[in-house]
């Protein structure tokens, strides 16, 4: 059976982490499962955990409206942790799911000790902001 560290190393968010960093993350990540229909985080509530999807699918809704689908490798919960606000959306499991959960205080220390993870989250949020603002996107045929 694969070790937890070996499984963590397969998560794209941690793709650029060293073996030592993977070991540290494996020590703070808890593997949990969810059933179809489970509400993993609820919009407007205070919540302090960071979640990474290991398997299965979930939907992100705001005010009952679906805004995004999540699958393996995707993560959520960083908005309220970084903005120190209530949950900005609801995440509901669409199938049986496996997740890694990292507590808020461990999330902060992970960012401080693992710059590649910070960079990865920065890039993802930047792309979301650009899409939300309707900004110009990269056109590979243009250059």
């Amino acid at each position: 059976m694969a070790t937890k560290a070996a499984l963590i190393a397969q998560v794209p968010l941690f793709a650029r982490c060293s073996k030592k960093e993977i070991g540290r993350i494996a020590a703070i990540a808890t593997r949990v499962s969810a059933q179809e229909g489970d509400v993993i985080i609820q919009e407007g509530t205070s919540g302090g955990d960071f979640h990474i999807v290991a398997g299965g699918d979930a939907e992100v809704t705001v005010g009952g409206k679906r805004i995004r689908k999540l699958g393996p490798g995707d993560y959520f919960g960083e908005m309220s942790l970084l903005g120190n606000r209530p949950r900005s959306a609801t995440v509901t499991a669409l199938s049986r799911m496996g997740l890694y959960v990292i507590e808020g205080k461990d999330f902060a220390s992970m960012l401080d000790t693992t710059p590649s993870v910070t960079l990865n989250i920065l890039t993802t949020l930047s792309a979301r902001l650009r899409a939300a603002e309707g900004g110009p996107t990269y056109d590979p045929t243009h250059f």
């Binding site: 705001v62 960012l111 920065l122 930047s126 650009r130 939300a132 309707g134 900004g135 110009p136 996107t137």
Partner: protein, 140 residues
Amino acid sequence: MARVDRTQLLRGVSLFSGCSNGELKRISSLATPVNADTGEVLAKEGKPGGETFVISSGSALVTLKGKKLARLHPGDVFGEMALLEKGPRAATVTAETPMSLYVLDPREFSTLLEEVPSIGRKILSALVDRLYEVERTQRL
């Protein structure tokens, strides 16, 4: 003539306020101070551009398709989106007053994030604030 300590000037920029003396020295060796005149366009939407800017003094206007998105003040960062996504400039940034800024090229920015992790966390928080604001406005 009084000699201005560059690291002490950096301490006055809110993005760097929590940094140690050692970190400020490192930032000072990476970031280049530049000035901009009123009306100068520092980033142009859709155009390539790889530098990240940190405002030291003055203010700038962020626009997209001619519409005002935000006003930037000392301590604010811009330009990081094109760098992070390796895409074109996400918006236009124009100096509203004479400005002084620190500029970092992509390599200097990556080095800064690696060596001074608190900066990455602050830039993340600023991005999250903007996302909240945009996503909230779109729902209304």
